[in-house]
């Protein structure tokens, strides 16, 4: 069964894959400079930004068994932090970034305290409920655009320098944040903390009886994932120069889950691959037909049915299928 796709990260089997992913991302702007530069840069910037959010969600789902259906809320909180502060003339990331991280972490702490008391389907539903709650809160913020959203007039500066002004600079800034998030999540997975967190998914009762307060470990992970979601939102507001409640709708949360499943649950770099596959397919297919989801839907079903490990696991599952006869 799926035991071969194990969460026990003993061997660095796919080590070449994450390196390749980051190399491609680092070189993409060079290739993009040969044509349609601003369009491709923008697309790949979005890929990386959603990759950051999906990465955090994979930490929860893939390693902790915590399927959050409200992860877009954190992205929205991060984005709104930038936009609201910006509308008051505060644009320096020495302020906006910590605010985005702290507000999303606090939201994660408060909602996590409630959500993590529940399990499985109830957890999914209650995270969805909190996500929708913040969605409606954003829609009712009439001083900040309400349902119409809010324009970000100035991208974040660093000590007054407009470091994100240039699209290419923004691209590499986002890439750095993606790399940092990836390395952080990876370190967490292998660490003492991560081992307890992974163990809690396997058998929470056993973990409690050997002395771990499972709830508190899960809440810490939830707060970390929430803050990384906030980081993603901070970058998204800078990239799109616009925020709206749609950023935190339940559809967005669902898309994040799809990205994680698409790339391969419980691999971290799979989340980046999934975000890329999702956004590139969306871009490609929506150019072919308006009803692109008619094509995308069956593709997703096929991936989930035949490649439990997502795109990354596709090759492996084909191999297993043949060797088993």
């Amino acid at each position: 069964m799926s035991l071969s796709v194990t969460a026990a990260p003993r061997a660095y089997k796919f080590e070449a894959v994450p390196i390749a992913i980051f190399l491609v991302l680092a070189l993409a702007p060079v290739a993009a400079s040969f044509g349609a530069e601003s369009y491709l840069l923008g697309l790949f910037t979005r890929v990386m930004i959603y990759g950051i959010a999906a990465l955090a969600l994979d930490l929860l789902c893939g390693y902790g068994g915590l399927v959050s259906f409200g992860h877009a809320a954190f992205v929205g909180i991060g984005a709104y932090s930038v936009a609201i502060l910006g509308s008051h003339g505060i644009t320096d990331m020495t302020v906006t970034l910590p605010v985005a991280l702290i507000v999303s972490a606090v939201f994660a702490f408060l909602t996590g305290t409630v959500c993590l008391r529940t399990k499985s389907v109830y957890f999914i539903m209650i995270t969805l409920a909190f996500g929708q709650m913040i969605y409606f809160v954003a829609g009712s913020l009439s001083p900040y655009g309400g349902d119409d959203g809010l324009t970000v007039s100035l991208r974040s500066t660093l000590f007054g320098f407009p470091v994100f002004e240039n699209d290419r600079a923004l691209y590499y800034g986002v890439l750095l944040f993606l790399l940092a998030s990836y390395l952080l999540c990876r370190a967490i997975v292998y660490s003492r903390f991560g081992r307890v967190f992974r163990g809690a998914r396997e058998n929470p009762t056993r973990m409690a009886t050997i002395g771990y307060d499972v709830f508190r470990y899960q809440r810490v992970a939830y707060v970390i994932a929430g803050a990384i979601g906030g980081l993603s939102g901070f970058l998204l507001a800078n990239a799109t120069e616009f925020v709206s409640p749609a950023y935190m709708s339940w559809q967005r949360s669902g898309e994040l889950i799809i990205m994680v499943l698409f790339g391969g649950l419980g691999t971290l770099h799979g989340a980046i691959v999934g975000a890329a596959a999702f956004l590139l397919l969306e871009d490609l297919l929506s150019g072919v037909t308006e009803n692109w989801k008619l094509i995308f839907g069956p593709m997703l079903v096929l991936i989930v049915l035949f490649a439990r490990g997502g795109l990354l696991g596709l090759g492996q599952s084909i191999k297993e299928r043949f060797s088993r006869g």
Partner: protein, 254 residues
């Protein structure tokens, strides 16, 4: 001459548990002294596992009190009781299937050694944790299977792994919920030998249907029926008790 005051590791006072109208623990009082192996036997449905679940904190008693080394733990969650030196095994094997045998035990060591709120380094290559885990695996003769995923161990090996996890916690009190359940005669013999070796190191409560094991190991036996203690005492006395004979032992011993 004053006798030395016995200092029980576990003391249960008038414990009651009911699920609605069903009384499953009906005023149980018992104690286990340091180094003692106290066996609890009784027919299916007597409330043995319910009792262990209350002692380990997975179930909240309706009334009564539980003391660990004199400390009232009745309201403490399982993880706090574990920190106070209480370890248990489960009737239905409860390990982490996708972790190796070694990591299953190493997690128990980790729980007792320093903070687990550490986000750097690789937990699975901490030699201090792995060495202690290996030692516990060796005690149950599982050292050659250290790198095998727990899901891939045989049933008997999983039972041994449960024991190793408990040992790695360096408990003061070990609750064993039918450690022989589902094992073959050979594996049962092997487990009896292991338990005999461990006897005296810490207090143990053994819930078991295997009467060979119970009479080979127990210092004291309590017989549980319908949530009540029917008889309690040395094995020979319990064996001779006529009430016990009719209620439970007769058929199994003959």
């Amino acid at each position: 001459m004053a006798e030395p005051v016995p200092n029980p590791v576990l003391k249960i006072e008038n414990l009651r548990k009911n699920f609605g109208g069903l009384v499953v623990t009906d005023g149980i009082s018992l104690d286990i002294n340091a180094g003692e192996l106290h066996a609890v036997i009784g027919p299916n449905g007597a409330g043995k596992t319910t009792l262990i679940n209350q002692i380990s904190g997975l179930l909240e008693p309706s009334a009564g009190a539980i003391y660990l080394n004199g400390e009232d733990v009745t309201a403490l969650p399982p993880n706090r009781r574990a920190a106070l030196g209480l370890a248990r095994s489960f009737q239905i094997t409860s390990v982490l299937p996708r972790f190796s045998a070694l990591e299953n035990v190493a997690l128990a060591v980790q729980a007792r050694s320093g903070s687990s709120y550490s986000f750097t380094g690789r937990a699975d290559s901490e030699t201090a944790l792995n060495d202690a885990a290996m030692q516990a695996l060796t005690e149950v003769s599982l050292e050659s299977r250290a790198d095998v995923l727990a899901a891939h161990l045989s049933h008997g090996e999983k039972r041994a792994l449960e024991l190793a996890i408990a040992l790695a916690m360096q408990p003061k009190l070990l609750l064993l919920d039918e450690p022989m359940a589902g094992t073959g005669p050979e594996e049962s013999e092997r487990l009896i030998v292991v338990l005999q070796r461990l006897k005296g190191r810490f207090a143990m409560m053994l819930v078991e249907h295997d009467m060979n094991a119970v009479f080979a190991l127990a210092d004291r036996i309590s017989v549980l029926t319908y949530g009540r203690i029917l008889a309690s005492g040395a094995p020979a006395a319990v064996r001779a008790d006529p009430a016990v004979m009719t209620a439970y032992l007769g058929e199994e011993l003959e």
